[in-house]
């Protein structure tokens, strides 16, 4: 099955054909070429600005017919309806992907789980709780985030650290940072090296720390010989994890390039104690999301990371409105449809808050000036949920967005019609745009090797 795409042929189309086909070796030079020839993607230092990748997650999908107006074919222009009205201001920063399918090949739809796992890993879980492959952000991080302090930064406004949708596998899933104060300390605490500070003196003690950690790693590597095969694999992951800290120590010894976009933010304060009991009341989620979003954006601008993941609400949307007996999730299943409005009113309100939150997030990234444009121009942010219509747990047509121009590699403002093609085409396109040298991504019917060329610049 193919998507409805424009057949207009142009210079880039030939390249796109090669990119979407089998000529993997063409992909990287092509993308480098775009970056190098794009004047707006150059930093003040004359060096090319890096292209970063992010994800943004919200639970419970959207309200069909009240979120995005349907289109019969892929074209410029997104029809924002009442639920997504706040996003209208970012039309030129967004691409929307509708009517893509999520074939599970007979595997169960583990509700509110299979959807995000399939969309982010390219593989459907065979059992509840299974994450069968690395999420796409980690594949990208493996490729582009080899010399930053943090391979990825994972944060959540929903206050549940374990609900992080970035994972290497079922047993290797880091916790999301849920506290703005803790995130600030991690990002801009004493170990942060301000690129714009005039004086820089490497601390010899850090050198010793690094050398001792490296020695320790070598010693532990010998230890790996004493364990069985499954545990060897676990220790391999452990060694990969050590490398991040080794890299962090190494970076403390180097003077970073001056960076006009990097401005150390004001430290956030601890919330009042009574707020801790109401972390998941929606106004508090919205507030926390903005604070975390600003810290994250500045971490990206300061090149502390090139891959960043934000959870607005978790996959079971355990968020509430004060005085309501049910969470957002439970409302999607229990609330009666208002016959006049044609939707579940409270559920709609929660979904609208998610759209508003997504718009807020884009405001933050678009508000950071970088080079001749904005931070958002140099990012590609993949946003998705785990369901289309949560009331019925449908996963075909799960709403998915890409935001940002990826340093000029992507054009925006498109509504892409999937026509039932696997949703993994969006993730695969993101992987290719970010330069990951793969020909195919995903398994079984979710596997794809076709980029969505309509959005390539």
């Amino acid at each position: 099955m193919s998507i409805l795409i424009s057949k207009k042929m142009e210079r880039r189309a030939a390249l796109r054909g090669m990119l979407g086909g089998t000529a993997v070796s063409v992909a990287l030079p092509f993308l480098d070429c775009v970056l190098d020839t794009n004047g707006t993607a150059l930093a003040a230092t004359g060096q090319a600005l890096p292209v970063r990748f992010g994800t943004w997650y919200w639970g419970m999908g959207h309200t069909p017919n009240h979120s995005i107006g349907e289109k019969r074919r892929t074209e410029k222009g997104i029809d924002f309806l009442a639920e997504t009205a706040a996003l209208k201001r970012h039309e030129q920063n967004l691409n929307f992907f509708g009517t893509f399918g999520m074939p599970l090949d007979g595997r169960s739809n583990y509700t509110h789980f299979s959807g995000w796992v399939a969309n982010r890993t390219g593989s459907a879980p065979a059992r509840g709780g299974e994450i069968p492959a690395p999420t796409l952000d980690l594949l990208i991080a493996d490729h582009i985030a080899t010399n930053t302090r943090f391979k990825t930064l994972d944060v959540s406004a929903a206050g549940i650290a374990r609900e992080n949708y970035s994972a290497r596998n079922t047993d290797n899933r880091g916790a999301a940072e849920i506290s703005p104060v803790a995130l600030y300390a991690r990002l801009f605490g004493p170990e942060f090296v301000d690129p714009n500070k005039a004086d820089f003196k490497p601390d010899p003690k850090v050198m010793v720390e690094k050398s001792v950690l490296s020695a320790l790693m070598e010693d532990s590597k010998a230890y790996i010989k004493t364990v069985g095969a499954a545990d060897k694999a676990r220790l391999d992951e452990y060694f990969t994890s050590i490398r991040q800290v080794e890299g962090q120590l190494a970076l403390q010894l180097e003077k970073p390039e001056p960076n006009d976009a990097c401005k150390v933010p004001v430290a956030p304060q601890d919330p009042p104690p009574d707020r801790l009991a109401r972390v998941r009341e929606m106004p508090n989620v919205v507030d926390t999301h903005k604070v975390l979003g600003k810290l994250l954006a500045m971490a990206v601008a300061c090149d502390q990371t090139r891959v960043f993941n934000m959870v607005f609400t978790d996959n079971f949307a355990n968020v509430r409105r004060s005085g309501e007996t049910y969470t957002h999730h439970l409302l999607t299943h229990t609330e009666v449809i208002d016959p006049k409005a044609g939707y579940q009113p409270l559920t709609f309100w929660f979904n609208q808050q998610a759209s508003n939150g997504w718009a807020d997030y884009l405001d933050i990234f678009a508000g950071v000036k970088e080079g001749a444009g904005t931070l958002l121009d140099n990012c590609l942010i993949f946003a998705s949920s785990e369901t289309n219509y949560a009331k019925m747990h449908t996963i075909d047509g799960v709403p998915t967005w890409l935001a940002g121009k990826a340093g000029g590699r992507v054009k925006t403002g498109m509504h892409v019609v999937g026509g039932g093609d696997p949703i993994t085409r969006v993730g695969f396109t993101a992987l290719k745009v970010m330069g990951v040298p793969i020909e195919k991504w995903g398994t079984r019917s979710l596997q794809t090797g076709k980029v969505i060329s309509d959005i390539l610049a």
């Binding site: 583990y110 709780g129 374990r162 992951e237 962090q248 009991a277 079971f316 049910y326």
Partner: protein, 561 residues
């Protein structure tokens, strides 16, 4: 076959197996050995180790990668857990922070067993003394010469660079706390006496025992026992198990087991609507969790009573905050814990009637008979309740035009859908008996002005209220077999499966014979050959593959009514 019938069949088969074994005599069946394991420390274990080694004054903010609850237990998930880059970063920062406190002027005199010749220079002798002692407790065995040398050399290098002996100690200690030898409880092995197989080293046996009984690293004394070879004989193991079980630290171990068994980690993210439930605060939530643990530990350990009576006991403990939810009076309204016994009028007995259980298995603003029934089936009877179908329609449950006022009426309307009826039959009759407790466990007699009907039945045993449910749970054959299975899985990190059926049945039989006393069951496991059995990884891996490898993780949180 209906789900209800399937459950009954499971229970009956288990009971028959138990009866059959009763006639076979009480010899411990052999268990197919599993390969050596590597279990990641839980946050509580990490915290306990630091407190044991360095005292309770240190600030320890542990936050590792979340464990996946597998086959009902986080302890089983720990066996396959890895460490992500951000997880390692946290361990590294935490290790550094703890080490800095240990070497700080406020603590060094108490925690470092020697004084350096000069505080501004390296002192290898003093560093050797420190790392020899502390390293043995962290690695749960003596350090090898090369490990010790590496630590002393690291401390030396840093002391020279910083002109600060204590900074060197701090660096070495922090780094020890991020090695796999510390972060994973590794089953280190040695060749068996006949040279044909492998067996746990005495230190690994000490670790197994210590984490099972005390949920912490082996003490100096226990490591000395291992060094003397006293774990090489059954009588030696028995002697030290008895000694360890006589220690008050057994409470720590048993509480950790029940916290995992009853999935009390849900309290970490439990939120209640503050408008609907004004008396419920985060402090009360913590107290509610603690009340469950205190009740159980007091019952099964301090009083050494029949485990099954945790579902009927009227004895508990109370704080002023909890008393407000229970609408009872306590002598100490200041937050201190006091023993408390429910009266007949209170309508409460057993942990299922406590605020904690009812709050945990409810929605933020209302009770849920289905969540409560599911929690009891899965956590306390070790039975599986399927998730609701993807296309389920719950709107009949909440239709504002419906005359249904109580949860029973709403569920009856909802459960007419055939796809829903099967599961609701196995959960709702249990949960409806608890409807006299609202979403935070406060007593109520009516809902929306209509009297609550709390009748129900548990696998054929009918009751009229929550007290009757408690008795039915107490007498249910799956109640003791469930705790046996979970305790075995908790002890070994491996769920009970086909390879352990005979052994588990044997434990069931012994547990019954011992009057369902949990300490006896613990002792039985801790002194059994099965608890220490390991096999060479290759052969064992093949065996595991035939059994289907790791169990199913239970992370789905699809909530039901």
């Amino acid at each position: 076959m209906s789900l209800l019938r399937t459950l009954r069949v499971t229970v009956n088969a288990s009971a028959l197996a138990m009866l059959a074994l009763t006639g076979c005599g009480p010899t411990e069946p052999k268990v197919a050995s599993a390969p050596p394991d590597m279990r990641r420390l839980t946050d509580e274990q990490y915290h306990n180790i630091v407190t044991d080694l360095f005292g309770p004054d240190l600030e320890v903010a542990v936050r590792s990668d979340p464990l996946t609850r597998t086959d009902g237990l986080l302890a089983v998930g720990a066996r396959t857990a890895q460490i992500s880059p951000s997880g390692f970063e946290h361990y590294y920062a935490m290790g550094k922070a703890i080490a800095a406190q240990v070497a700080s002027p406020a603590h060094r005199a108490d925690l470092i067993p020697c004084t350096p010749k000069s505080e501004t220079a390296a002192d290898d002798a003093c560093a050797t003394q420190f790392f020899t002692h502390t390293g043995r407790l962290l690695y749960r065995r003596p350090l090898t010469d090369s490990e010790l040398k590496a630590m002393v050399s690291a401390a030396h290098e840093m002391a020279e660079a910083s002109k600060d002996f204590y900074r060197g100690i701090s660096l070495g200690l922090g780094d020890m706390m991020v090695t796999p030898k510390f972060l994973f409880i590794v089953d280190e092995t040695q060749p068996s006496k006949d040279g044909k197989d492998i067996e746990l080293t005495p230190y690994a046996k000490a670790s197994r025992l210590s984490f099972l009984l005390w949920n912490t690293t082996p003490s100096d004394e226990l490591l000395d026992v291992a060094a003397k070879g006293e774990f090489n004989t059954s009588s030696g193991i028995e002697k030290h198990v008895e000694r360890m079980m006589a220690s008050p630290r057994l409470h720590t171990g048993v509480r950790a087991f029940f916290a995992d068994f009853f999935a009390l980690d849900k309290f970490e993210t439990l939120e209640k609507d503050s408008i609907i439930y004004k008396a419920y605060t985060t402090v009360v939530g913590k107290d509610a969790e603690e009340q469950i643990l205190r009740t159980v530990a007091d019952h099964v350990l301090t009083r050494n009573l029949d485990y099954r009576d945790i579902f009927t006991t009227k004895r508990t403990f109370m704080t002023g905050g909890l008393a407000r939810l229970y609408h009872v009076r306590v002598e100490r309204p200041d937050g201190a814990w006091v023993p408390y016994e429910f009266s007949d009028e209170d309508g409460r007995a057993g942990i299922l009637t406590q605020v904690g259980f009812n709050a945990m298995a409810s929605h933020p603003g209302r009770s849920s008979p289905t969540l409560r029934g599911k929690a009891i089936r899965e956590a306390m009877l070790c039975q599986h309740v399927p998730d609701p179908p993807g296309d389920v329609d719950f709107t009949s449950f909440e239709d504002p035009n419906s005359p249904n006022k109580t949860a029973r009426q709403r569920l009856a309307a909802h459960a007419v859908q055939p796809a829903c009826a099967g599961c609701h039959k196995i959960t709702d009759p249990i949960g409806l008996a608890l409807e006299n407790f609202d979403g935070v466990g406060q007593a109520r007699m009516s809902e929306n002005g209509e009297k609550i009907d709390a009748t129900g039945d548990l696998d054929g045993i009918a009751y009229s209220d929550a007290l009757g449910l408690g008795k039915a749970m107490r007498n249910h054959p799956a109640t003791p077999t469930c705790v046996v299975r979970r305790l075995w899985a908790y002890a070994t990190g491996r769920p009970a499966d086909n390879s352990t059926t005979a052994y588990i049945n044997y434990l069931d039989q012994r547990f019954a014979k011992d009057g369902y006393r949990l300490p006896e069951l613990l002792k039985q496991i801790a002194t059994s050959d099965a608890f220490y059995a390991v096999a060479k990884p290759a052969a064992a891996t093949a065996m595991l593959q035939t059994e289907g490898g790791r169990g199913s993780s239970t992370t789905s949180q699809e909530a039901v009514r």
